[in-house]
């Protein structure tokens, strides 16, 4: 029984969706405006100039972009290993304090970022660790682990133990079983988790401001442009790049997790 929605509901839902998307559309529009100093609407004219300006005239964009990509890649690799290990352990074993432990593993995402940031900063201070690319990666890995962990855990719970037992019965050792039975079944969940972790790290600004020291990741570069703007439309061009770099992995992650929901019913 699914009745036709009333027009009031349709209007409210449609307006809500529009509210979620119009601001992003405006970001794209303003990348083409000829007005550099203000956010005048409607734009007085349209130009492609800012794309070439971002590419040729602004060498300050490149180092933050590379740093962000590097940090996101390393933090994701790190999170893939640790997140999967934690999910594997907590899904198969039963031991005292397991529930508390699984709560612990989602804490970095549940607490406001500013608390994670300032806590890590003072810990690095105490450990006499100078702020560097390493400290940025350490900060990002902390919440990236959670994303991979959540994705992997959901998949591990759906794995049927009888396949692992059958593999062992047929003479495979645990490493062969992992390689040929478990890994193929969790691969797409890991891929999805890894992509979300990458997108999250690439976009992170709150924890990063506390752990970056003098270096700028792309979000920090953007934050500085927001506070002290130079060529405003160039910021829009970079914003479009950021949207693309975070959005494509998310679409892919959605595709990977959706596909196996269909397969496993």
């Amino acid at each position: 029984m699914r009745s036709e929605a009333g027009w009031g509901l349709k209007l409210a839902a449609g307006a809500g969706i529009a509210f979620l998307h119009l601001p992003l559309a405006l970001i794209v529009l303003y990348a083409f405006t000829t007005e550099e100093k203000s956010f005048q609407f409607p734009p007085p004219g349209l130009t492609l100039h800012w794309f070439s300006a971002a590419w040729f005239d602004r060498p300050d964009i490149w180092p933050p972009l590379w740093l962000s990509l590097r940090v996101a890649a390393i933090a994701t690799a790190f999170a893939l290993v640790f997140g999967t290990l934690a999910a594997a352990a907590l899904s198969r074993a039963r031991f005292f304090g397991k529930d508390q432990l699984s709560l612990l593993f989602i804490l970095p995402i549940a607490l406001p970022g500013i608390i994670t940031g300032i806590a890590l900063r003072s810990a690095f201070d105490i450990m006499n660790l100078p702020f560097s690319t390493l400290t940025i990666i350490l900060g990002h890995a902390t919440f990236c682990i959670v994303v991979v962990y959540n994705n992997a855990l959901a998949r591990f719970r759906r794995l049927s133990p009888s396949m692992v037992e059958a593999s062992m019965d047929l003479g495979a050792n645990s490493f062969q079983t992992f390689r040929h039975i478990v890994l193929p079944q969790i691969a797409s969940a890991l891929l999805a988790g890894g992509m979300l972790a990458f997108a999250l790290s690439f976009d992170e600004v709150i924890v990063t401001t506390f752990t970056a020291g003098q270096q700028s990741t792309l979000p920090i570069w953007m934050l500085q442009e927001l506070i002290r703007p130079r060529q405003r439309p160039v910021t829009n061009v970079v914003a479009i790049i950021v949207i693309a770099v975070t959005f494509l992995p998310i679409l892919a992650a959605y595709y990977f997790t959706r596909q196996d929901e269909h397969r496993q019913g």
Binding site: A13, P23, F82, A119, L138, I206
Partner: protein, 301 residues
Amino acid sequence: MLNSLSNLFYRRPQLLTALLLGGPLAWIGVVYIGSLFALLIQSFYHLDDFSGTVVHEFTLSTYAELAATANLQIIMRTVVMAALVTLAASIVAFPIAYYAARHARGKWKALFYLAVMMPLWSSYLVKIYAWKLILAKEGIVSWIAATLHLSWLLDGLLSTPIIGGSSLSFSYIGTFLVFLYIWLPYMILPIQAALERVPNDFVEAAADLGATPRQAFRDVIFPLAFPGVIAGSIFTFSLTLGDYIVPQIVGNSRAMIGQAVYTLQGTAGDIPLAAAFTVVPMVIMGFYLLAARRMGAFDAL
């Protein structure tokens, strides 16, 4: 070699668990939790006003400082903002979640889901920046108001004390709108999940027993979906409490908790007071989570 290792794991499953868990636990359990504790301990130190250095002695004077009027105002302001954002988000989110859960199907349903997920995962800073464009004095809101000959309404709104300001991007209205926008998807998803779990039989039974659609909604669907609203409110409330970038970019100069923490630990160098400030959202969220659990919100997550 591998075989004997494998046999050892089989005989001693705890060993394997310990090996698997060791790395991640050292990370989250020791480094992360350790950092949180170190922060908590710092809140019991205090800053010496004359030398500007932190005195490592147990004292409650930092918490006394936290109770000063100016600091209490910061806390009150932040809590009120978080409550208003949460309330507005639940009102805006409900129709979207309701339509997606109970009317959309097939391709439309997937599209709706993506339409919520896309803004959720788009860059946080890009979203804030978008509102800087929208709310600017020369931006689209002013333009629409002028085109519709409603500029007087906008000016009236901005001249209202407390919530007004020189333009929307320097007012509480602006801060509120940006918070509402960036946290809205966190409210939609739990409500939608809760609504999808309401069995259709219940709704049909209500109709069979003579309830009008309105009554069925009020007495059956809404109470069953309410834990989803609470679950969503955990996110909107907590995220607003801790944020310091939104009020810095869109808003007036009066600080919220996050900004206070940021300036205290940075330029002011008063780590103890900053640490004491971070205890506030932690305590508030602790009570909030307890209350939410009592209302069954965790089953809706």
